[in-house]
Chain length 225, copies 2
Amino acid sequence: MEVNNPLYRRQGIHAIASIFTVDKGEVKVLLIKRNNEPYKDMWALVGGAIHNDEDLEVGLKREVKEKTGINLEHYFLANVFGKVNRSPVMRMVAISYIGVIDRDKVSLVKETLKTNDADWFSIDKLPRKLAYDHEEILKDSIIKLAKLIGETNILKTLLPDCFTMPELQKVYEVILKKEIDRRNFRKRMLTLGLIEDTGKMRKEDNKKATKLYCFTDKVMDKNVF
Amino acid sequence: MEVNNPLYRRQGIHAIASIFTVDKGEVKVLLIKRNNEPYKDMWALVGGAIHNDEDLEVGLKREVKEKTGINLEHYFLANVFGKVNRSPVMRMVAISYIGVIDRDKVSLVKETLKTNDADWFSIDKLPRKLAYDHEEILKDSIIKLAKLIGETNILKTLLPDCFTMPELQKVYEVILKKEIDRRNFRKRMLTLGLIEDTGKMRKEDNKKATKLYCFTDKVMDKNVF
DNA sequence: GCAAAAGTGTTGAACATACACCCATGT
DNA sequence: ACATGGGTGTATGTTCAACACTTTTGC
């Protein structure tokens, strides 16, 4: 490969994360508001261009840290976006990731050098337009997230340490976009052995007390759905 | 993003394909022998650096065509390899794909500008060393291929138009690395509706005549294994 | 006492697994 | 007649899907 061939020059790599969390039974994604051109003052997924002296995933984590203050620990490769004109500045190939965190375990920085806002958006109520091709990337990640929760332990990092069975079920229903029978859902979750009864209960106003469950250390060996 | 910041310069993208086929019950992968530095005269997966004026998948197909003469039509994103030093020439991020073809439907060009040989290697008998990090990429693709044949119609493009049930079973057994009961395998394939009896038979020497099957147009809606 | 949400068990259908015998061919 | 590989059916256990009633609580 001839390095100075103009065909190979001016290319870069974006690492982009769709960072999801669950909040009161809603699935939310983290967006930042851009402070710089291009797409100044528009909402965007978290991410940016990786440096030529850092591994790809190191660059991803650096970008997330710089733009949100969050240490991203759990993420999965989602897709690659390689259209020539997806960035107006120069030719960038985007590697997209799905990140999952419990929003109560992190503190979100709302203003940084490159952002002037950051917030969690329900995946049903997203801003009309996002920067770059981030709408396409996010839609794709939401679809892949649905597959992931059937195939992996991803919810373990998405949910708080303790949760009730109806809460867990609601997360599945929101992400999978379908209703599930309460009794069958319980049975399946418990027989899979991925979660277990903590023996504790939670009592909220206006409600009957509910049992609290937690994830076990068991690794997933078959699909949930 | 400041285009001329040295942090963002001298980066490129490799599109790399692990192209699989099935030949006499063996799963084989297509390798080329490199004609140029780096890694001159070593076997490598098919692929190369994409140009800054072509979409990623266009570049993938161009590279495959240039180095093997093959028009790659069926492929799937497999993974991304983003270590800083994976190429000795300059910083390259590799996007890896799984390609599938019926080798009888293509003609392989053994010598090109950039290759001096090309051949199909059984995935059990690969060359000791491959160029770049292609061993890592290929191993990863072989694992993902096993997942894909359980989840998608990928075999439709991997196999000839007509095939016998024992042939099909052998492909599954080779890729999944386990033995399957003949009678249950038949039942499952037919009840899934993905393949059907053509009514034709094939007669080979030394053998009883065997029924020929073909794929239907049905889209896969549940996992095979 | 009634509405709202949590908790529990049973039953039938569908599917997966295990397994044994016959047929055609070539030696 | 026997060895090889192709073709078929049945019986059993497991898993999935459908479904109804009771409890607690606040109003």
